[in-house]
Amino acid sequence: MTYTATEMMTIAAARALRNEDICFVGIGLPSAACNLARLTHAPRLTLVYESGTIETKPHVLPLSIGDGELCDTALTTVPVPEMFQYWLQGGRITVGFLGGAQVDRYGNLNSTVVGDYARPKVRLPGSGGASEIATACQRIYIVMPHGIRAFVDKLDFLTSLGHGPTGRERREVGIKTDGPTLIVTDLCTMRPDPETKEFAVVTLHPGVTAERVRENTGWPVRFHESVDVTPVPEPHELSVLRDLLQRTAQAHGVN
């Protein structure tokens, strides 16, 4: 079966989730990945959306983080302050998904501005929940398509802490959660070095060359000593994902 780079990215992200995980889900790719995992290998995966819906099992993907579908299919829905106080800050979330306009080699993220904060070239949406998701969840998975303007040598603004500007700040501040442990892109998957915390490529998606990753990364990107090929999407994974996206498009009347 043929597949797109975005499908590969979504499937690679979904595979990182386990039945035992309690997942703080963002909209877009993370939501597709989490629900794909739930509909394939991790049926007991627990999904939490920052709108307050806990243990939700949406039949179609929400377009916004607070769609009615999330509430209708949730075990319970709590107020937003409670979500951030008791559930996120309370340390109950095992995996948080994040993305952004820019990421650096230590998994720090910018979703605030391109250019100077006071006179931005591009005003981005801002932190939302990200600045606290980044430090309160046990692990962070970053999902972002590769590109030279997104994978940068230096962030214009640090919205959400990864391992810090030199890879040491997270530990120095005394944060006990793991931080980013995985980056999934449309070209590869990356993991941080246990010591330096710099992300290195661990698998290349089928057909992707190391050169192509280098060209699309704004820093001299490292590769793990034995780089594998990301397992190709299974027909089952692809069909479940495509069904999900098709149901979603129909339900939303978009496209």
Partner: protein, 279 residues
């Protein structure tokens, strides 16, 4: 004690030029009808507070209602940018917009602190983030027991909070259900509160449950505004108009097209709105 008023009367009575105003609703129950009435009444110099500005603030900022925005995520959910917000921040059009930017956790805590009559909220947040560098309203306190440094933000205390809810009873008690966001906190934190509702019922039917109810004595005005959350949604009444959210991207990208839309749909829509409440 809640008074039942026409929406236009509620806005003209309780919202003043220069006020600090929160229209809340986390994706769900966004009070669009009230936002449009504020636009029609030509209110300006407002400080707008909202976790997720959404289309309603894109519209209000685009017509120049706002002097300042307090927020934590300014995008079109599931679609992309808020182009009117960006134009105001990036190019000062139609007027410069001061911003007081936070994360969701800070805003949620700050509303809760406002509801609780506290001067500030503390939480574990902003660790390693650049946000405290650019916002002097993010400070810290030291835990007297552990020495941990905790983030502190001032409580949010709007002059007026406006929310949309499913139902009010004839006394003006209000029921909110589904995704309830920070609506209760935003109402209780405010000096004045206006609630638009889908309908007025004899009985909220919440006896003995732990439903989210705002007593009539926490609300100043209740205005019946069926469909008042469109194009967002009202759980149990109508769904989110995702097509419009997507279309908004192209409407709002262009200043002229935006102004046309406001003129046609909001300003000249006044008559339609008035008729709607009459039926």
């Amino acid at each position: 004690m809640a008074e039942f008023l026409a929406l236009s009367d509620a806005i003209s009575r309780f919202v003043k030029r220069g006020d600090c105003v929160a229209l809340e609703g986390f994706t769900h129950l966004i009070p669009f009808a009230a936002g449009h009435e504020i636009i029609r009444q030509g209110l300006t110099d407002l400080t707008l507070i909202r976790m997720t500005p959404d289309l309603v603030y894109d519209q209000m900022i685009g017509v120049g209602c706002a002097r300042k925005l307090v927020f934590s995520w300014g995008g079109n959910p599931g679609v992309g940018s808020l182009h009117r917000l960006r134009d105001a921040v990036e190019h000062g059009w139609p007027r410069p917009l001061e911003i007081d930017e936070h994360g969701h956790s800070a805003m949620a805590h700050a509303y809760a602190a406002g509801a609780a009559g506290m001067p500030c909220a503390i939480f574990r947040g902003y660790l390693g983030s650049d946000l405290p560098r650019v916002n002097s309203r993010i400070q810290s306190v030291v835990c007297p027991f552990t020495g941990e440094i905790l983030a502190a933000v001032p409580a949010l205390r709007p002059d007026v909070t406006i929310i949309h809810a499913q139902k009010a009873d004839r006394h003006g008690n209000v029921l909110v259900s589904g995704i309830i966001g920070v609506q209760k906190e935003a109402v209780l934190a405010a000096a004045r509160a206006i609630v638009t509702v889908e309908e007025v019922v004899d009985d909220l039917e919440t006896a003995g449950t732990n439903a989210v109810v705002l007593p009539a004595w926490t609300v100043h005005a209740v205005a019946v505004a069926p469909g008042g959350a469109r194009p967002s949604y009202a759980h149990g009444y109508y769904q989110r108009d995702n097509v419009f959210y997507t279309e908004w991207d192209s409407i709002a990208r262009d200043r002229d097209r935006f102004r046309d839309w406001i003129d046609t749909e909001v300003i000249r829509g006044r008559r339609d709105a008035a008729e709607a409440t009459r039926t």
